[in-house]
Amino acid sequence: MTIRIEELVDDRRVVICCGTGGVGKTTTAAVLALESARRGRNACVVTIDPARRLADALGIEHLTNDPTEIDQKLWADIGGEGDAVVPGGRLSAMMLDTKSTFDLLVARNAASPEQAKRILDNTFYRNVSGALGGTQEYMAMEKLHQLHDEGDFDLIVVDTPPTRHALDFLDAPKRLTRLLDNRVFRLLMMPTRAYLRVASVAVQTFLRTVARVVGSEVIEDVVAFFRAFEGMEEGFRTRAQVVGDLLADPDTAFVLVCSPRRDAMQEATFFAQRLAEAGQSVQALIVNRVHPSFGDEAPAGLRAAAEALRQSPGEPAARLAALYDNLADFREIAGLERGHIEALRDRIGGGTALAYVPYLAHDVHDFTTLHEVGELLFDTVTAR
């Protein structure tokens, strides 16, 4: 039984768009939220780093911590004849502000406003919330959880940060908890200098070396941070667990966005395997930038025709030869791309919805073009 992409936007509560950088994740997330709203639901898209024109179209020029509702007039009346929206739909969007999401999380978990302030003012904390790899992913999930709990959205679509590898998304939150749990640095939370007494010789050497390389004030910041953070790790761990549960919820769907190139396909395979190990599955595979097919002739036959025509004299023959070669080129790439896509679906296993979005003649940065992609998505779902 194949899942249909329509089901994802009609029935699920959370859709997470994953994939490597540059495959159209942000656009796909916006498309899914738009289509859900057009089908009568209250949908919200959480974007990470949209291209400027898309951000403008969604009315999210600035980082915000709360979704902004988009005027229905902008996205409801864009379809053609007989393409009416289901009444009652609403659409909101936001661009994730990683730092203020983290600040809020600290404030909520702190035992007192003083503890929160000590953390928020710490240099090391500012680096964690602003620059640590993985924080963005973690905060995207945190935000998702807040919106899920506190908002009244029927569907939240989350874009994930642009990384070289799709897998980074799954590994990222662990990096932050690993940092907060770090054994060596937890020793530092002990009262001043006491760590040097209880820590093993190895740890002492280690800390001295680190201080030598990066400077002792850096270590002092870190110590101050871990000391200020004391007592909050448990809250963070519990929170991470709760967010993890939301990802495992049957109402949450993972959508893998990729392009038909070999490396993107390999990456997608790894990602699906990792999800499977975590007891979850990729529910839809959306392949962007697929070349059109142009008929069903085999490239070899077309090449032979081109070759024969090249032997013939005259301009009409030369023109035909060029046309046959061109068609052969496109037939070849279309065949290879479809081969990759089918192989990927076989590896991921049955039940995964599959949709192609062909190469479009224009950029996708407004509601009309987003909706165009939406129609293509729903159109190409193939049964299995």
Binding site: T20, G21, G22, D49, A51, R53, F124, N127, A131, P162, T163, R164, H165, R175, L179, N182, R183, F185, A202, T205, F206, T209, V210, R212, V213, V214, G215, V218, I219, S259, P260, R261, R262, D263, P292, F294, G295, E297, L309, G314, E315, P316, A317, A318, R319, L320, A322, L323, N326, L327, D329, F330, E332, I333, L336, E337, H340, A361, H362, H365
Partner: protein, 314 residues
Amino acid sequence: MEVAEFSSTSRVVIVAGKGGVGKTTVTAALAVTAARAGRSVLIIEVEGKSGLPAMFDAPALGYEEIDLEMRVRARFLTPDAALVDYLVTHGMKRISKRLATSGALDVVATAVPGMKDILVLGKVKSIEESRSADLVIVDAPAAGHAVTFLLSARGLLDAVRVGPIRKQAQDVVNLISDPKRCQVMLVTLAEETPVSEVVDTAFAIEDRAGVALGPVVINGCFAPLPVAVSANAEAILDDARACDRFVSRREADDLAHAAAFLEERRALQGEQIQRLRELLPLPQIELPFVFNPDITRTQLDTLADAFGRGIERL
């Protein structure tokens, strides 16, 4: 400009651009181009996994250099590996493993933002100084990370006042701000968003990081057909009759659609290339679209041919 001359303009070329534009492909094609001109090339991949070895039909990369083909070697250089290397070469071998495996590196690297980039670029610098290759090509991290990657050394100089890391940062700044030693080659596609982003990146890199920019590589440009054709099924059927060849109506339609698609893509790409030229006063090198989703050695030759022609036109 001769390819040989171009490949000795600077010893280090950092290939940067947003995800999906083909940085690794351009890196590989540039390596082949320089190797053909007799230069020895070392490719450095800064992220663990890479599509690079597959293009040369070689095994996965490791921290040790491997030969991809004659005069082209490659290795990866991740921050963790660069840190261990740094500690070992600075007499701190004993703690190096511990730092990397305990996860403490994450803590230290977070405490000193940009440290990972400094470690990687610092190692690139020592490779450059060792003269083990005529040309070192760095396949930079994806997306906006390229700007951070290049800015981190300057940022760190402001933040850390003393110590070996500061020295390392100073060395990196000296390397990347010297056009004779290092240049950045930006890669983009002839599409609206990638063009807008490459322009932003170019200004950010030049103004804030003080790095010299080489030519912009525009990847995936569709070549024109060798003769002018009409993307019209009737005209195609006329031509078929004129040279006594049977072409079915369906086939004429397929031929026409494919030609029209090519024409449309070419027109759009032409507009964006022109737009890029107006927005960014850098020389351009166009690489052709490859009709294969997988780049293999054969495609690299095609791309290197175009690269060579592009360089000669500079």
